[in-house]
Amino acid sequence: MRKFGIMVATAAMMATAGSSAFVQADEPKSGGTLVVGTTQKARHLNPAVQSGIATAVPGTQIFATPLRFNENWEAQPYLAESWTVSDDGKSITLNLRKNAKFHDGKPVTSEDVAFSLQTVKDNHPFKSMFAPVTSVDTPDAHTAVINFEKPHPAAFLAMSSALLPIIPKHVYGDGQDAKSHPANSAPVGSGPFKFSEFKPGEYIILEKNPDYFIEGRPYLDKIIIKNYKDPTSLALAVDKGEVNMYPFLATTKDIARLKKSDNVIVTDRGYEAVGPVNWLEFNTKNEYLKDKRVRQAIAYALDRDFIVNALHGGQSKAATGPIVPGSPFYAANANKYDLDLDKANALLDEAGFKRGDDDMRFKLTIDYIPNAAELQKGVAEYLKPQLKKVGIDVELRASPDFPTWAKRVSGHEFDMSMDIVFNWGDPVIGVHRTYLCDNIKKGVIWSNTQSYCNEEVDALLAAAGSELDQAKRIELYNKAQEIIVDEAPIAYINMLPYHTAHAKNIGNPPMTIWGTMAPMDEIYLK
C-alpha cells in the first residue's frame, strides 16, 4: 500500500494549518462578521450539481469535502483524516473522521460519500472528474473505497474545493431530481458555516457551525456574501470598509486604484487552481486557418507584452500554453511566440497567401464574449490593426449577450474568437476538454470548438490522465503541450487578472490554490 496521508489525528491539525506560511504572529481571535462582496450571482448553493464561482464560494463554506489543498498543491486531510492508494492505483481508500456531523446533527458516513460521488458523477458538468469511477464500497461507516477502471490522479483535486461536496443522503436522497432539489437553495452540509438565508441576486448569510469537526474553528461568527451589480461600486465599498473582502476582482483600473489605497490589501494569490486563461481560438476548419502556418503567424503577430502592460495596465500576466503558469504541469519550455512580424509575414507567404491589391491577404472575423470589455473586446479591437500589419483583414463581430456568442462558437460558426476558459485545478478537469478529438461536439460551449484533432496529443493526454507518478505525469503533459502550442489551435494571451482585495484587519486571508473557493475556517478579524 502506498501511503499518501498520515494516519494520525494530528494530521487534522496540520490540515487546518495549511496556509501556515501566512499565519500571522498574533493569536487568532474568535467572533465577528465577514462581509464578502461579489458581482457573481449564485443560482443556488449546491456545488454538487452546479459548477462556477458564484456557487463555489458559499458552497465550500457549507459543505466539507474529503480533502483540501494547501498553497503548494499538496492534498491535506479534511473529512478524510487519511487515505491510501492501492498498489495498482485503481482504488483510493478514504478513512473518514468519526466526529463529523451534518448541520442537522446526523453523522457524516461513508454512505454519504458514496451518494455524493454518484450525485456529482450524474449531474456535475465536469464529467471527466469521476468518469473512471466504477464503484464506491462502504465496508464500514467511516471507510469509503473508491474503485476506478484505471489509475486516476485527478481524483485528488476533484475531491477538494467545490468539486465533491459531501451532501447528506438523508436530505438529497429522497428521490427528487438533484438539479432542482429544494434543499439546493437551503442546503445542509457539514462545513464550517451553516446556511442561514439566501436572497437570489441580493445576499447569502452563513452562520458559524458550533459543532464543526475541527475543534476551535471557525473563528468567524458569520459570513455575509453581498451581491453588487457594478464592479466600480463594489471597489468603492471595499475601500470604504462596507465590504471586508472582494474576491475575483478583475477590472484592472479598480485593481490599480485599490493597490494604492491605505485601507486594503490586494493580492493575486488564491487563483492558481482555477487557472483562468484569456485566449484567441481558431476554427481549424476555416479555409485559411486550417493551415497551421496561418495560426502560428497570427500567434507571432500579436504582442502579449503590449496587451498585458498597455491594455491591462500591467495587472495581468501572460499565458503561454494550455496549462497556466501557477500549475505544476505548466510547460515552461513550449514555444512562447514572442512578437515577430517578419516571421509572421514569412509564414503567411510560405502558406501561399499573397497580399492582394489592397495589401491584404484574406479576411477573417473575430468574435468575443460580451460584458468582459477589457479582456475580450479590448483585445479583439487591438487585433484588428495589429493583424493588418501582416495582411489579415479582421472584422469584429459583436454579440449582444452571452448566449448569442455561445451559440455562434459552440455551433462552430466562427473564424476566430476570444474566449475565457478555466483550468479547474487538474488538467483532466479543465484542460483535456479543449483538445481531445472525441470532444468536438457541436452545441456544447467549452468543448473542443476549434475542431482540433491530433491522435498523438490524445494518447499523451490519456496517458498523463492515468499516470500516478507525478514526475512522469509532468513529462507527459510537457510533451502534449509542446505539440499543442506548436500546432496552435489557440493563441494564448493572458491570465485573467483575478485579485482579492481585503481589509487590513483580516487574519489568515485565503491563500491556498483554491483561494475563497475553500473553507474559510482559519480567517479571523484582528
Binding site: P125, P200, G201, L236
Partner: protein, 325 residues
C-alpha cells in the same frame, strides 16, 4: 354609472391587452439566439451534450414553440407564472420580492421630480428670458442629457466617498440589526442617492414641460382677462395658469410610472438596488423566459393601472373631461 361603465370597459380592454402582451413577449424572447441551457452551461463553466439535452427537457424546451406557448398561457391565466429557470424559484415570489423596492425607488424619484420640477418650471416661466429661467433650462438640459449611470457614480463618489454621508449601494445594511424603525430609517438613508439620481433625470422633463406649458397658457386670452379683472398675480399663476398647465405633467407622470421597470435598470445597477429593473435585465441575459415574461406581465398590468389612475386624475383636474366623458 358612466364612470363604472368606463372602468369595466377599460378593464376588458386591459385583459385583451395583457393577453396580447404575453403572446408577443413570449414570441419575441424566443426569437433571441441561444436558450437557458446555453446560459446555465455558461454559468457552470461547461457542460456535456447529455446535460444540455437534459436541461432542455426539464424546462420543456424540447417541445415545439406553439406547445410551449399554449402551456404557458394556460398556466398564466390560472395565475401560475411558472418557475424561474435560472433561480429555480417561483417567478411570482421573485417578482413580488423585487417589486416593492422598485416601486419605492421610482415613486420617490417621481414625487421629488414632479414637486421640484413643476416648481422650477413655474419659476422659470415668470421671466422667460431671466436668469432663473436660464439656470433652470441649463440644469434641465444637463440633468436630462447626462448618462444616468454617470450621474449615479458621480453622486456616489461625492456623497458616499468624498463626503461620506450616504452608503454606496444596496437597499439596507444587512450587517446591522436595528429593529423595525431602525430598518425603515436605514432604507430611507439608502434611498436618497438612487432616488436623487433617477429624480434628476425626471426633474428635467417636468421643469421643461411646465415652463413651456405655462408660457403658452400665460399668453392666452383668459389670463389677460383675469389680469384685466385685477386678479392678484399669484392667484393668476396658481388658480388660472398652473391648473391648466399641469395637464401634460399628469400625462407624463402616468406614462413614466408605467415605464417604471425600464427607467430604473441603470440606477438599480449602479446602486445594487434589489429591484425589478436589474432582475429583468439579468433574466433577459439568462434567457430566463418565465421570469422575463412574469416581469413584463407585471409591468403591463402597472401600465394599465397607471393609465386608469391618470384618467381619474384628469377628471379631477380638468372639469371638462368630467362632463364630456
Amino acid at each position: 354609472m358612466n364612470m363604472a361603465w368606463m372602468v369595466v370597459r377599460r378593464l376588458f380592454h386591459a385583459f385583451v391587452l395583457v393577453l396580447a402582451v404575453l403572446v408577443l413577449n413570449f414570441l419575441l424572447i424566443h426569437l433571441a439566439p441561444g436558450d437557458p441551457a446555453d446560459v446555465i452551461a455558461g454559468e457552470m463553466g461547461g457542460a456535456t451534450e447529455e446535460m444540455l439535452a437534459d436541461i432542455r427537457k426539464t424546462y420543456g424546451l424540447d417541445k415545439p414553440i406553439y406547445v410551449q406557448l399554449g402551456v404557458y398561457l394556460e398556466r398564466a391565466l390560472q395565475g401560475d407564472l411558472g418557475q424561474s429557470f435560472f433561480y429555480n424559484a417561483p417567478v411570482l415570489d421573485l417578482v413580488a420580492g423585487r417589486a416593492g423596492a422598485t416601486i419605492l425607488l421610482v415613486v420617490t424619484a417621481l414625487l421629488f421630480a414632479i414637486a421640484v420640477g413643476t416648481l422650477l418650471g413655474v419659476l422659470a416661466s415668470h421671466k422667460p428670458k431671466g436668469i432663473v429661467s436660464g439656470l433652470v433650462t441649463l440644469v434641465s438640459v444637463v440633468g436630462y442629457s447626462a448618462p444616468i449611470f454617470w450621474t449615479g457614480l458621480m453622486l456616489v463618489i461625492l456623497f458616499a466617498w468624498v463626503i461620506p454621508i450616504f452608503p454606496i449601494a444596496n437597499m439596507f445594511d444587512i450587517t446591522k440589526d436595528t429593529g423595525f424603525f431602525g430598518f425603515i430609517l436605514d432604507v430611507l438613508h439608502h434611498l436618497v442617492l438612487p432616488a436623487l439620481t433617477l429624480g434628476i433625470v425626471y426633474l428635467a422633463q417636468y421643469a421643461r414641460l411646465t415652463r413651456a406649458s405655462m408660457l403658452e397658457i400665460l399668453g392666452s386670452d383668459y389670463i389677460r382677462t383675469a389680469r384685466a379683472k385685477g386678479v392678484a398675480e399669484t392667484k393668476v399663476y396658481t388658480h388660472h395658469a398652473l391648473r391648466n398647465a399641469i395637464l401634460p405633467v399628469v400625462t407624463i407622470a402616468g406614462l413614466q410610472f408605467g415605464s417604471i421597470v425600464s427607467g430604473a435598470v441603470l440606477v438599480e445597477t449602479v446602486f445594487s438596488w434589489p429591484g425589478l429593473g436589474t432582475l429583468a435585465f439579468e433574466s433577459i441575459l439568462a434567457r430566463d423566459y418565465p421570469t422575463v415574461l412574469g416581469i413584463l406581465f407585471f409591468s403591463s398590468v402597472l401600465v394599465i393601472i397607471a393609465n386608469l389612475i391618470t384618467d381619474l386624475v384628469y377628471r379631477i383636474v380638468d372639469p371638462r373631461i368630467r362632463t364630456g366623458g
